[in-house]
């Protein structure tokens, strides 16, 4: 017996299994509500209110663990003045959005932008709906709307003593013309937003009921396992499917684009073992000669001042100041390729017919996924759609739609049959969109009075935009390369140097780059903040005091640095055997700082004892979730510091699973003491900024403990590990 659960206005998922009398409910997190809500009046695009007063808030951005679903719902609910305990959410589809003139705005969920780029219009959505609901009640009562007030989903008219609920007037409200202008609340008056409310999506994540892309099952669905050419840029030459003709459950073997082959079977496991047995011949192409050590040498060449470079930030004349300096400090740092390694391997389920094409998937960018469906299916946009489900992590990888394209190309070869494409962990590890590789030579110059006179940062290496969005690169300048080092924008450098030059020599190895949680602030914060530590020691000053002197015109950077220094007791010696390091940076509109306290055993085993971290995101929509993002950022950032490295040998990624691409475990993680200190007046992100201070704080503490500078990741290459 199977259960069909309708998703939205069309589509279905199987929610039960017929085996052995087991009755298994499968909750569809947004879809089931959406089906019911279809009957509920849509007050406006953002808000539906059911007759029982349940409020359905539409969320365009994607939830992947970062809490944006709950935070955005809080912002809408705040302006709506509804009863938070009756709030549910649903995702509109990208197809619905396209059909309605992008009424929900951008779906893209990356760059810590979920809230900071949409707070204004989602709050207006809530405020407009509130006004329409009040107006509907006022019309019924023939009272002026200005005399009616709403609270907790109840509208009252004090003069006549009447009251009603949102659910009772929603149908009438839905017929009204929305007001053109609405006033938004002062954040100081927030009652729902600004509070550390619990997430809306927790319960199903504790019972196994939450539906991720990997869990999607459709009637008659088949499963596909895929292998793309292990050398980037290589093509599929041929395969011999006769060798797997007798494999149980195998239905079809198909080419996918020009570089991959997929086996389609009744179950994924049967597809996978058949694929593993399938003889495949690749045209590996020129990148088969690519090896990571050669790439490192080529990048090092770019550090020479004679090589061409573009300027990302400059004041004064750093070259001249360095030339006349009596004391010069120089160091070269490096940051490797890294994979996202989200816990849920990439997957998408597609159903193609000559008339329409639908995809179910976890994506950080529903609209990009829809465009991929349109392109791969060759069907008009209005005949395509994407149904988003929960993401088992994204970290930037699910902002790409390559796996969606593949799923559609596969399903197209079996019209009318839904096919779920699931990547193996090995495919996920070796077909990534990796954290870009760069190196950086830093030169600091002191004047005769031992004051810092100049800083020159010369970055050599990969640009994400040059591959992913080349139109963003003008005259060789990729602005994102200078993230955290720029003079202006949402990732500004926090120091004033008398002379500064930051430049980039672009060198793009044949490894596809992508946005990786934190993106370019990760390496730039290591380069700058570890080198600031080096300069402080060279000048004989305390690293925090040294920084403070250069931060007079950057009060928000200074405030987070001071906050962590004070909480960590920086001005007093660390406890016996412990050593401290600090770092401060800005990214994604937020100011972040950290102090790490570590011990280092003689065999170079590190125990991280304490982390203090501060964030000023401007407004804190859900402080409890911000604390979780800060703490989680250390797990991601320190996994990268200790373990994270993707290398190429003969063009192939050498790391295929967590045994060679390890991740931090619970035992390695101390408590993170979070200081959430929103100073108001701006909207910064929280999912990514803190990652960048994790590694430099620990590296600086390692120097304090050992007197040794580690200037390249991961630490395992220097035989340094967690205790």
């Amino acid at each position: 017996m199977t259960t069909e659960i309708h998703i939205g206005r069309r589509g279905f998922l199987i929610g039960g299994a017929a085996i052995g009398g087991l009755s298994l409910g499968l909750h569809i997190p947004y879809g089931a509500e959406a089906a019911e809500a279809a009957a509920a009046p849509e007050v406006n695009a953002w808000v539906l209110v059911k007759p029982d007063d349940t409020v359905v808030i539409r969320i365009a951005r994607s939830e992947m663990g970062q809490g944006t679903l709950t935070g955005l719902a809080q912002l809408v609910a705040e302006e709506l003045d509804c009863d938070w305990s009756r709030v549910t959410t649903e995702y509109p589809t990208p197809g619905q959005s396209a059909a309605r003139g992008r009424v929900w705005g951008d779906f893209s969920t990356g760059g810590s932008r979920g809230i900071r780029d949409s707070h204004d219009y989602v709050r207006k959505g809530g405020a407009i709906a509130r006004q329409m609901l009040i107006q509907a009640a006022a019309n019924e009562w023939k009272a002026p709307a200005s005399e009616c007030r709403a609270e907790n989903g109840v509208i009252t008219h004090a003069a006549s003593g009447r009251s009603t609920s949102y659910g009772k007037v929603a149908e009438a409200a839905a017929k009204l013309t929305p007001p053109a202008n609405v006033a938004l609340k002062d954040p100081r008056d927030w009652k729902i937003a600004g509070k550390g409310l619990k997430r809306l999506d927790t319960a199903d994540k504790t019972t196994g009921k939450m539906l991720y892309g990997v869990d999607v099952r459709l009637p008659g669905m088949l499963n596909a396992a895929i292998k793309a050419c292990p050398v980037f840029g290589g093509k599929l030459a041929s395969y011999d499917e006769s060798k797997i003709a007798n494999f149980k459950g195998v239905k079809k073997v198909v080419r996918v684009g020009d570089n991959a082959v997929a086996v389609i079977a009744d179950t994924w496991w049967r597809a996978k073992i058949a694929l593993d047995a399938l003889p495949i011949v690749w045209n590996e192409g020129p990148n088969a000669q690519s090896n990571s050590p050669d790439t490192a040498k080529w990048l090092a060449d770019g550090l020479h001042n004679s090589e061409p470079a573009v300027t990302g930030n400059r004041n004064g004349d750093a070259y001249a100041a360095i030339a006349r300096s009596p004391k010069i400090i120089e160091a070269v740092y490096g940051y490797p390729h890294q994979n996202h390694a989200a816990m849920e391997p990439l997957n998408a389920t597609a159903l193609y017919t000559p008339e329409k094409c639908e995809v179910w998937t976890g994506t950080q960018n529903g609209e990009a996924a829809l465009e991929a469906v349109v392109a791969a299916s060759g069907l008009p946009r209005e005949n395509c759609d994407v149904r988003k489900v929960m993401l088992g992590g994204g970290f930037g990888r699910r902002g790409f739609a390559d796996y969606v394209t593949q799923a559609v190309l596969i399903a197209k070869q079996l019209p009318g049959t839904p096919v779920k494409l699931l990547w193996s962990r090995e495919e996920d590890m070796t077909q990534g969109k990796y954290h870009p590789v760069t190196q950086c030579k830093l030169t600091g110059a002191f004047d005769a009075d031992n004051k810092l006179a100049a800083l020159h940062m010369r970055i050599s290496g990969q640009s994400i935009f040059s591959t992913v969005r080349p139109q963003m690169v003008k005259n060789g300048l990729d602005p994102a390369v200078f993230q955290g080092l720029a003079a202006t924008g949402d990732a500004r450098i926090g120091y004033d140097f008398p002379n500064l030059l930051v430049e980039h020599s672009m060198r793009n190895p044949p490894v596809p780059p992508g946005w990786w949680r934190g993106v370019n602030i990760n390496q730039n914060a290591i380069y700058l903040e570890c080198f600031m530590d080096e300069l402080a020691h060279a000048s004989g000053e305390d690293p925090v005091a040294f920084r403070r002197k250069l931060m007079a015109n950057h009060p928000k950077h200074l405030a987070v640095l001071n906050a962590v220094a004070e909480r960590a007791g920086w001005d007093k010696p660390a406890p016996e055997g412990l050593h401290r390091g600090a770092a401060v940076f800005m990214g994604y509109g937020s100011y972040v700082a950290a102090v790490a306290e570590i011990s280092v055993a003689p065999d170079d085993k590190i125990k991280i004892r304490r982390i203090v971290a501060a964030t000023d995101p401007g407004y804190a929509v859900n402080p409890a979730q911000i604390e979780r993002q800060i703490a989680g950022s250390f797990v991601y950032g320190l996994s990268a510091l200790f373990h994270g490295e993707i290398t190429l040998k003969n063009g192939r990624v050498e790391q295929e699973n967590f045994d060679s691409y390890d991740s931090m475990r619970l035992k390695d993680m101390p408590k993170v003491e979070c200081i959430v200190m929103p100073s108001g007046g701006f909207w910064g992100g929280v999912g990514e900024p803190t990652i960048c201070v994790a590694a430099p704080a620990v590296l600086n503490a390692y120097f304090a403990a050992t007197g040794k500078r580690i200037r390249a990741l991961p630490l395992r290459d220097a035989n340094i590990s967690f205790a």
């Binding site: 052995g20 087991l22 663990g65 992590g393």
Partner: protein, 149 residues
């Protein structure tokens, strides 16, 4: 047909005996709460109980699981009442993306059965699951809370 004993019920599955238990649970029995993360026993997302022991189901074959009591995340709550670990997970708002949490919860439930009030050291030794979102701090807090429940 292979006969398995899962969550208190005897069920039949049309599956080869050398299939990893993980895939039999997910694909043949529809128990998708148990997650695929690595397939090589590293990440722990597929942790289930076999005769009470926390086990990475990607690394056990169906043949090895025959005749044993298998419990998955779907069978952790009893008589409609959440297990105290599940309840602690809700109380402490532990999951972020949540994908690894079925395995995490199963590992913790087994730990608390064996060691009702674990120290931090015992937690460190027993809970080796990978979580890329980084929920470890809440996991530790919730374990301590559940151990007192």
């Amino acid at each position: 047909m292979t006969v398995l004993f899962v969550n208190g019920k005897t069920i039949e599955a049309d599956v080869e005996p050398d299939t990893p238990l993980l895939w039999a649970l997910r694909e043949n029995l529809g128990l998708t709460g148990t997650k695929y993360g690595c397939g090589v026993g590293q990440c722990g997302a597929c942790t289930v109980h076999i005769d009470g022991q926390p086990t990475r189901s990607c690394s056990v074959t169906v043949a090895d699981a025959v005749g044993k009591k298998i419990r998955t995340i779907e069978g952790l709550a009893e008589n409609g009442v959440l297990h105290r670990v599940q309840q602690a997970w809700i109380d402490f708002d532990v999951p972020q993306c949540g994908y690894c949490q079925s395995g995490m919860i199963m590992a913790v439930a087994a730990l608390l059965k064996e060691t009702p009030q674990p120290t931090d050291k015992e937690i460190d030794a027993a809970i080796t699951n990978i979580c890329r979102c980084g929920t470890f701090q809440q996991v530790r807090e919730a374990i301590h809370a559940a151990s007192k429940a």
